[in-house]
Amino acid sequence: MSNLLEQVFKEKALIAYVTLGDPSVEATITYCKALIDAGISMIEIGLPFSDPIADGPIIQASHQQALATGEDVSVNRGFALIKQLKEYAPNVPILIMAATNIIMQYGYQSFFKQANDVNCDGLIMPDCSFEMVQAINQIQQPPNVPLINLVSPVCDTERLKNIVTYSKGFIYLISSTGITGERNEFSNKLKQLVMDIKNIKNIPVAIGFGISQQDHCKRLSQFADGIIIGSHFVKLIQEKPSLKEGIDAVCNRVKQFKAVL
């Protein structure tokens, strides 16, 4: 597994999701650098997709907005961004999150090769079940670019064992059934699930989907190794009248969340 991921999960990690190109590619660069300055542990760069089935209305709107600008928000543009960010902060892991179709059209092999070249730290395909990863045998992961598997609270014991056994990097644990988006209820099975995962293999577990409050971070980080914030940050950026105010608001939240981890 990527040494960087290993390093980062030595402490409780705060992970931010950012849509490439929302509101513009230039803004994404500025925003990511600000996140890094504010002490974010890791960034997921989401590549926009026309039909995201795993995402809620906030992230879908963000994808539509990014695609509507007509700017290049392709896999290659994502790699270029990673290259820039790695020059800025070589020790902050940067992952790519994208719909299966985006990666499939780029070519799985080319994706992993290029990702390795730009020091991308992993790939998340939220609409690709573990069974499909197994079925698509072209997906050979270079050791430094793990494919991060997602696990949901409805995952049964047998599947969980399979998924965790084959997983590298970390496990992305979905906080509840449903799509991304802010919520107040989380599955009461999460703590047990984290324990079950750790019993199968010693691998970091980061929880995401719908986390927006300091209290959530505090509660969940007592047993998880990382907290992933997506919609909440995307919404802050969208809501504020200027990009600067949006970035300031997010960075403030980053500090507040970090304080309770």
């Binding site: 026309s50 079940s129 079925a135 059934t177």
Partner: protein, 390 residues
Amino acid sequence: MHHPNKDGFFGNYGGMFVPDTLMPALEALLKCYERIKDDSAFTEELAYYLHHFVGRPSPLYLAKNISKKFHKTIYLKREDLNHTGAHKINNTLGQILLAKKMGKTRIIAETGAGQHGVATATVCALMGMPCDIYMGSNDIERQSLNVKRMTLMGATINSVNTGSKTLKDATTEAIRDWMKHVENTHYIIGSALGPHPYPLLVRNFQSIIGKEARKQVLEQAGTLPDAVIACIGGGSNALGIFYHFLEDTSVRLIGVEAAGEGLETKKHAASLSKGKPGVLHGSLNTVLQDENGQIQLAHSISAGLDYPGVGPELCYLKEKGRLESYAITNHKALEGCKQLAELEGIIAALETSHALALLADKTVLSDNQTIILCLSGRGDKDMETISKHV
């Protein structure tokens, strides 16, 4: 041999490209289906409703006037005479009985033309289940009659305003709803699309069309047809009528897609002819998309064909060479509709009219052949569109 493998692949197509949250629901659906599909209580209940409620078997009608016009023997498989006016109810009935067996208490569905929505609302009323229908706001506008029918039967219509505001976006929205409420909700997909086991389920529930048609044509004509023709959007009526003819290698299977304003334009819905393998709505199929993998908007005058992907089994049959596919423009489809109305006194749905329009193409169908055409639905819902153009 035609069954998908354990991961739901038909050759290179199909699969279960869904978030982890949906995997247990899909597995439970498959398990439940496999357990009860041959169970006599289930098959008898389904057969009862198909007969007494839907009105099956649907007639195989020898259409003499168009036969004469096109110098062929043309049989129409009259799915338009089913209760609710299309083939869609074969599937919704099967799936709601399945949902009941799984203990689900709520039904959701997507709809394009509204036919699947109506068929879902109908069986939900029949079984006393609450029902949420997702429909693109553009489709709500062009299919207002069906919206009223669904509402009258107690369904809640959820207008979808994202993307192209048509079937594609309604499907995305329905999948999302399902992910949120997977524990009590069954999602009735309307076509042979989506993640495994849906393409299998829908095909099997629809295969009654071809099962009846094959028996009927042998009784009436004393021979198998030279060709079976059906329109293709997602592919449910096509697979339904083709399935029991797959082993009859002398029978050509011909699918007709929507060429919209022309295959040379960007405004069409011919995913089999022009799509590239890609993942959309849970399965790998041939998808209309750009070079970066963004899904393109499909276009057709008929809302039911207006979808940028196609059922994985059809992709497989096409790749194997078992299925021929052609595409018919909006203009020709309207002509096909008008012709059948004038010559036979049958107003077909605009989806079906694409298949009807192929009858005039002598390069595809030579004279004196015996043809079965799946008359998948009736055209009442399209009267506004038809009267604007004809």
